[in-house]
Amino acid sequence: GDDDDDDDDATNTPGDGGQVQLGEVDVLGIWGAEELTSFEAMVEPWGGTVNFTGTRDITSQLTLQVEGGNPPDVAAPAEVGLFQEFARNGRLTPLSACEGLEDLIRDKYPESFVELGEVDGELYGFFMKADSKATIFYNPGLFEENDWDVPDGDSSFDDLVSLSEEIRDSGTVPPWSMGMEEGAGTGFPGTDWIQQILLNESGGDVYDDIVTGEKGFDSDEMKDAWEKFGEIALGEGFVLQDGASAINATNFRDAIYTVFEDPPEAAMVYIGAFGSGFITTQFPGIEAGTGFDFTTFPGGDVTGGANIVYAFNDDPTTCDFLTYIAGAEAQQIWVELGGFTSVNEDVDLEAYPNDVARRLAEQLLDAETFRFDLDDAIGGGLQQAYFQGVTQFLTNPDQLDQILQQIEAARE
């Protein structure tokens, strides 16, 4: 992709903006499969041509292209660490460069998300396709049979533990299903646990301090979060995949499925909102709400991920494109197709395909405290260390302190 070929081989379709001759825009993202189809559906109405390249190794891909002097026009990765670095090194163009875009974001997007797009006060990017990670998926049928009461945002972590004990003692199935394996991303479900617990227990400021580095991973708050995670993960008979090696070796997807199989092998699984996607594809015709359901992670605060969209140039096509996809009409298209949670307030909640999806969106928008995925926020080596740390902690919980120190040591 490149940024100066718009004028010559322009497709000459007047865009929504109308005033510019729209050319091509090169987008580098991580979407594939049905996501990609939906994305293409979303940009279809836009006048210009979108050259989308998808890769799951986006950080290296971006680094290579930027270093090689050949960045895409627009990037939409999940990790903000890289984004911030690019911004600081002046590789990115601020959204202000595109007329009206910055205002649109500031008006329509929740504060917490806007802040995340700022570097040194300048707004460089905006978020779309957000995903709450304050979601515990469970098997409603199973809960009714054994009339266990479903925890919610208002219950506490201890309630969660006691529920786990109750389910375990009931001798039906283990309360949790847990899997960390995901190739190069192995360990991420654990990091989600920890960040969610951290936010609930120690609050947003501590969370932010961890991100910025004012507080280290070796801080007491952090350690507490890890230990709480350990209580569940390594709790006697708590987890279907019994023991560290099993948890580490089980792919997070397989872990999800076990809860909703017939008969179910576990009662609950903690996974980001995107988990619903796997459930519905794996079990076609499963009823949202009856076949599977989710509840807010006890504590009520919400962590979550999202794709951050930013641009490497400000030529008209690029700006027009950004403005288009930031807008409600565009995002509504994807929302209707499912698997997409918009943080643009103008997107009509009615647009969501089903109840679960709608509640996921609400949870995200109504959350009094929202924090961006910790590992994606820090990124780079620290993120790696964080991932590694989780799997190591599970195998050697007694070495927690030195693991945390080592993680902190990876901070740049």
């Binding site: 992709g1 490149d2 070929d5 081989d9 090169d26 993202g29 991580i30 979407w31 594939g32 499969a33 049905e34 996501e35 990609l36 050259n51 989308f52 390249t53 998808g54 890769t55 799951r56 290296s60 891909q61 290579l64 292209q65 270093e67 090689g68 002097g69 050949n70 895409p72 999940a78 995901e182 190739g183 991303g185 997807r253 397989d254 499925y257 199989e261 995107f274 996607g277 796997f278 594809t281 794996q282 079990f283 076609p284 794709n307």
Partner: protein
């Protein structure tokens, strides 16, 4: 004179091998067959697993092991292949893969054999050290080269559309660009392999060609290459499938989605949360087809005794 020559008869003879002979021939070789079959089976199991899985529903794959699918009731499905093949742009991607791979392979074969000829049949200063260096470059990890190469390409970009095949004349999103890149990356091994085979040809053949008035070029094309077909075939196979399976270089050097090879398309089957393995399994076989065809096609060049009757002694 003719009388002393062997008689010519039309019909080819059929050796009269009695059944007894046949058995006597087979029995001592039984262990050989067993060992070989053993290897074949072991090596095929993972492939078999992949193949079977590629015909199973995703839920089935996650539910139980592939071997369960072998026994009835069979519930195989074409859906995965459907999804892979009917993914939009797959046709073009297939063509692109060929457009990228075939020239890249030919370039390597040509350039490498030229260099190998020089290394094995010409004397010049620093011959061995230069050879060592070239081969040693085999160790360079591709990722290490991409940034400098990309820089170079963006600088040397010739942004003129090439008719028919499309893409730029040179730079990123240019066929020429990616051909040369793949050629460059393929050379060290190619030179290494060919020099060894060229070097093993009997010197007297080159000599007699010389006396017949053949220039280096002629010796190269009329003697060296024909006599090295097994090596060239082997090399062609590898180079072809390495380029064919390449994702990294294509990702970096081909921005234009219309030029994307199959490998790029296939990655699009995987969502950002990395689902859809069943599609990958199908994709694996789809993309494997062509290299395997090449492999079989080139098998016939692996013939014994290509040098029979050449020299006495």
């Amino acid at each position: 004179m003719e009388r002393s020559e062997a008689v010519q008869v039309p019909a080819p003879a059929t050796a009269e091998v009695s059944v007894a002979q046949g058995l006597r021939g087979l029995l001592p070789r039984l262990p050989l067959h067993l060992v070989l079959l053993g290897f074949i089976v072991i090596w095929s199991i993972p492939t078999l697993a992949l193949l079977i899985s590629s015909f199973r529903e995703p839920q089935a794959i996650a539910a139980d092991g592939w071997w369960n699918a072998i026994w009835p009731p069979w519930e195989f499905t074409w859906d995965n292949y459907d999804a892979v093949l009917n993914q939009q742009g797959m046709g073009r991607a297939f063509v692109n893969s060929l457009l990228i791979t075939i020239p890249a392979t030919i370039l390597v074969l040509l350039f490498a054999s030229m260099a190998a000829y020089a290394f094995s049949w010409m004397e010049f200063p620093l011959r061995n050290s230069l050879f060592l260096i070239m081969v040693a470059l085999l160790v360079v990890p591709l990722q290490m080269t991409l940034i400098p190469v990309l820089r170079l390409y963006t600088q040397l970009e010739v942004d003129v559309e090439v008719p028919i095949v499309g893409g730029r004349v040179f730079g990123t999103s240019s066929y020429l660009g990616i051909w040369l890149a793949h050629a460059g990356y393929g050379l060290p091994f190619a030179i290494f392999l060919l020099r060894n085979f060229f070097g093993s040809l009997p010197r007297e053949l080159m000599e007699s060609a010389r006396l017949d008035g053949a220039s280096d070029t002629r010796v190269f094309f009329r003697i060296i290459l024909p006599l090295s077909v097994p090596a060239l075939a082997a090399l062609a196979i590898f180079q072809f499938l390495w380029v064919w399976n390449d994702l990294l270089v294509a990702l970096i050097l081909l921005g234009d989605p219309n030029m994307a090879p199959m490998t790029l398309r296939i990655t699009n089957l995987v969502s950002s949360f990395g689902s859809a393995y069943q599609l990958l399994t199908a994709a694996a076989f789809v993309s494997m087809a062509v290299p395997l065809i090449i492999f079989f096609a080139l098998q016939r060049y692996f013939v014994q005794g290509i040098l029979a009757g050449a020299v006495k002694g």
